[in-house]
Assembly symmetry: C2
Homo-oligomer: 379 residues x 2
């Protein structure tokens, strides 16, 4: 059975051109970028070339990009690294309640360790009101964290407005851009954030590699300690083949950014328009205007989302309820709860995320299958 993949927000296939770009860095040019000989210098050059590509894509200086193992490490690093340097200045953190767990869990741990945390509410579309950030800040605030685009419902937060507030009070501002880098045009200076995190496997690069942007002058202690790699900001042998792959993935995204955005947006809009027409008792989740082009998210009344996923899977359709990182959990989504959905609706949710290999025919098939499957599973 041919499979149809609708879970691009969880991870993307590595583009064949990315795989090709990575190949020479496994065996032919395999050196440790810290080694003091020609084989090491080859890797060092590949590393810095990749840093140039990645930094340019997000509008950063190359020196402000630290390569790492992905956005979980990036978010953990940003939070602990800011807190370590700012403990004498304050103990208060402001964070959006719909963040990814790699932001929420380390902050919850800090809260258990005595930090004060304000969880910013989101509206029914998942959006933060910048005024609530202003109201939450106090003299003790040392970090603000609001994601760029939500990984479950695709809503894009008003980052520019929030960064104006953060700048006024000189508070470091972390933006998890895991779902937007590679998919949207994005510039750290336009956004105004101080820290930006992302993972290559969300935009057709390999898994296990990502980066954190740290604005010059922002004090962030290292997270991985040991060697002096990444200008002493991240110990560990640099993963050259994966970093080269990440840069290649960025280049491919750059080449097609606008056309692919428009293509996905059209398919997404068909889903958002057609599904409520064809099925009763459906709620479309997430903001309809400020939204990722590849995300369509629904809640079905009187339905177990897990049963729906299983039925779809049996038809070869791969989708999800929300974040893959908590797919094992039986708790309803904290994002949907924060948006005010009751547990029954949260349990009845379906996330359809699109990408480079999604076709109109895939959308047709889903639109054809879904009403019948939902009908047969309705409680």
């Amino acid at each position: 059975m041919e499979k149809i993949y609708f879970d691009y927000a969880a991870t993307t296939p590595t583009d064949p051109e990315v795989i090709k770009a990575m190949q020479p860095y496994f065996f032919e040019h395999f050196g440790n970028a810290s080694s003091p000989h020609s084989i090491g210098r080859e890797s060092q050059k590949a590393l810095e070339d990749a840093r140039g590509v990645v930094s340019q894509f997000v509008g950063a200086n190359p020196n402000d990009i630290v390569f790492n193992s992905g956005a979980t490490e990036g978010n953990n690093h940003a939070i602990s690294g800011i807190v370590y340097h700012a403990m004498d200045r304050g103990n208060h953190i402001v964070v959006c309640s719909a963040e990814h767990h790699s932001v929420l869990v380390p902050i919850e741990q800090l809260q258990r360790d005595g930090f004060k945390v304000t969880y910013l509410p989101v509206d029914s579309n998942g959006l933060v009101d910048p005024a609530s950030v202003k109201a939450a800040i106090n003299d003790q605030t040392i970090l603000i964290a609001v994601m760029h685009a939500n990984n479950e419902v695709g809503s894009i937060q008003p980052i520019k407005e929030i960064s104006v507030i953060a700048k006024e009070r000189n508070i470091p501002f972390l933006v998890d851009a895991c779902q937007s880098v590679g998919h949207l045009s994005l510039d750290v200076n336009e956004l105004g954030c101080d820290l930006l995190t992302f993972s290559a496997h969300k935009f057709y690069g390999p898994k296990g590699v990502g980066a954190i942007y740290i604005r010059e002058g922002i004090k962030v202690s290292s997270f991985l300690l040991g060697g002096d790699q990444e200008r002493d900001r991240r110990a560990s042998t640099q993963n050259i083949s994966a970093i080269v792959g990440m840069a290649k993935a960025i280049e491919l995204c750059k080449d097609e950014l606008l056309t692919e955005y428009a293509r996905e947006e059209k398919m997404r809009d068909r889903l958002i328009e057609e599904i409520p027409k064809r099925i009763d008792g459906v709620k479309v989740n997430g903001d309809l205007k400020n939204r990722l082009a590849n995300n369509a998210h629904f809640s079905f009344e009187n339905l177990e989302g897990e049963s729906l996923l299983m039925s779809l899977d049996m038809q070869g359709i791969c989708a999800s309820m929300g974040s893959a990182c908590t797919s094992g959990a039986m708790e309803p989504s904290h994002v949907l709860r924060a948006m005010g959905l009751d547990d029954a609706l949260a349990y009845g949710s379906l996330r359809i995320t699109l990408g480079r290999w999604t076709t109109d025919e895939n959308i047709d098939f889903l639109l054809e299958q879904l009403p019948q499957l939902v009908g047969s599973l309705r409680l």
Copy 2:
């Protein structure tokens, strides 16, 4: 110019068979192992198959293996994870003074934060005396860390003897086995350690992936926080292609473990015997008996090691002075200092490390070139 690589301790080429094994997990089987559909389950299966292979190789239960980004993360995780759980029991750490920086630096940070640290001395061959561990332990000791084989001079520590002492006092024992896994036959139950860390790129696997063994019952808090991957012990999307590659690398090492050990040992012994015969004022560093088969380490009197490396590099010979992780540093090696070498000898050092593609002809060429180069560079 053909290059000769003598820096296998810094990193190894990824074996072509490993690259081949990884390929299907980039594009065809690319799923997120946490995703609730068939594409995710394929990845989950590949992940658990790989866990079986890796765990078996070190004599562990599959559930005691946590995949990560490499040994720097593993060592950081082990140290902070043990300390977090044991803070109410004590504040004293015992660590070998010749450890890798990914062990020493996090412990130095704990020391600055108020922990007491005993640095175990090493003898002139780089070996720890188990009696010194016994003497160092007190009622406050919460962690002992002694590496398996030293990354600079190749000396193999008396781990079994130390683990007996650790067990008697019920103190968690961390062994950094970065240089030995894949190269020596090794079993966590024979060694008796509670935590073991290693990186795939040291044994012909890809960079950016490694594992930590955590003995059942040993309490270690998570290091990367967020999703519940790796049985809630390491958040972050699992790097399937790299993990599959790591398992394949382990299998290849297993197949040739004894023959390759003997082959490298013979080449190493030629270097250790011949170089002092052909060059005056040479000291062989590291224990001659308890030693990695692939490590030969020398100090030359009246010589700048960096100049020697440059001259070797110009002849196409890639070697190093010591750890690649500190190659940018101008400080003499902390390992050689701990072994009692004066700074002049430490600055005059050369590490030759061998591996799967090293040939007798490579050894011939080095033995031919080295006397002349050293002669021309002598101060």
